[in-house]
Subunit: 192 residues, 2 copies
C-alpha cells in the first residue's frame, strides 16, 4: 500500500529533477551522549513494495554506531526549485553483511550493484573520520560490483510521520501525515 | 577571536551567493521523547564579536519547546555550487521576550527590525502546527518593526565542533575543527 505522502514526494522529485542535488537530504540521528547528529545523504529510492526509503552507509561511520542505540531518524528534505520541504520521522534499519533476513541481504547486494564505480570505491577507503595519513593515495582496487565490501550497509527509514510545507502558498500550505496504531495514514492541514 | 572554521564558511557563502537558498541550513535537535527532529532554517549572520550563528524561531514552535530540555543542536549545511558540507555541533540559546541578559534582548530587537515585512508577519499567524482553520485568511495587521511580537525568538548556536567536507577533492577532503577545554580551536585533516 503506497502511503499518501508518496505522491507529493514524487511530484517534488520530478519537478526538481534538473538539480542533481534534489536527491540529497539531511538525516538527523541521536548520538550515544544524547546530542543530535545531522549529515547529508543520497536518496536511493524505495525498498520494493514498501514505503521505506533506501540510503547507504559505511559500518565504520558514526551513524552506523548510533542507530543500534537510538533507531530513530528524521529526514529533512528541501526542494529549492519548488520551495517545499518534507520532514520524514521514522525508524531506521541497518542492513550489514550479517543481517538475519535473506530478502534484506539480497536488497543490500542489489543496492551495491546499482552504485556507480565512484560510489563503490569509497567503501575501500581508510576508516572515515580517523586522522588522515598524507601518504595514503586513496586508490584501493576497484571493488567487485557483484560482491559488496563487508563494511557496506543498506540503511532503511520507515516513516511514521511526514510534514510537508509548501513555501510558495499564500499563505504557505502545510500538511501533516501520521500513521495510526493500525498502520493507517491520516492527513491534516495544519498552520504553517 | 574569530574561529578558524569561519574562513571556509565565509568562502562557501561567497561562492554560493547566487543561490538564495545557500543561506538555508538544516538544524537537528532532540525531542523530549529522545527522537531526533530536523528542519530547514535561515542563517541570519553571526552575533556581534562572537562565533554564534543567529537563527530565528517562534516560541510556539516544537523546537522552542525542545531546546530547554535538550540544548544541543547540529546544523548540516550543504553548498550545492561548491559541493561542500559543513556540520556544526553546538549549544543552543533561545532568547525570548523574557530573557535576562539586556544585551541579548537588544540583539533580539535588532534582529526583528532587520527582518523583511513578509518574515515579520508570519509571527502574527495562528499557532504553528495546530489544525488549520479554513476560514482563517492569515492576514494579521503588519507588526511594528520596532517592537518584536512576544512570540518572536532569536536563537543562537555556539559551535564546539565543526566538520568540513569538500566533495570536489580527489579524493575528497575533510577537516575536523574541535574546541578544547581552554576554548582553543584545533583542526585536523581526517579521512572522508
Amino acid at each position: 500500500m503506497i502511503a499518501p505522502w508518496r505522491s507529493p514526494l514524487a511530484h517534488a522529485l520530478h519537478r526538481n529533477r534538473s538539480l542533481a542535488y534534489a536527491r540529497f537530504l539531511q538525516l538527523a540521528t541521536v548520538r550515544p551522549d544524547g546530542r543530535p547528529a545531522n549529515r547529508t545523504v543520497v536518496f536511493r529510492g524505495f525498498l520494493d513494495n514498501t514505503n521505506q526509503l533506501k540510503l547507504i552507509t559505511d559500518i565504520r561511520s558514526e551513524k552506523a554506531a548510533q542507530i543500534p542505540q537510538s533507531p530513530w531518524g528524521e529526514i529533512c528534505w528541501y526542494f529549492p526549485k519548488t520551495r517545499e520541504q518534507l520532514r520524514l520521522l521514522g525508524r531506521l534499519t541497518l542492513i550489514d553483511a550479517h543481517h538475519g533476513d535473506p530478502a534484506l541481504l539480497k536488497a543490500r547486494k542489489m543496492q551495491w550493484h546499482d552504485l556507480s564505480d565512484a560510489a563503490r570505491v569509497q567503501f575501500g577507503w581508510a576508516n572515515p573520520g580517523q586522522p588522515r595519513d598524507p601518504a595514503d593515495p586513496f586508490l584501493p582496487p576497484p571493488p567487485d560490483p557483484h560482491e559488496p565490501l563487508p563494511n557496506f550497509c543498506l540503511l532503511l527509514l520507515d516513516p511514521v510521520q511526514v510534514d510537508h510545507l509548501e513555501l510558495r502558498g499564500n499563505p504557505q500550505n502545510r500538511f501533516r501525515y501520521s500513521m495510526d496504531e493500525g498502520d493507517t495514514w491520516h492527513v491534516e492541514s495544519i498552520n504553517p
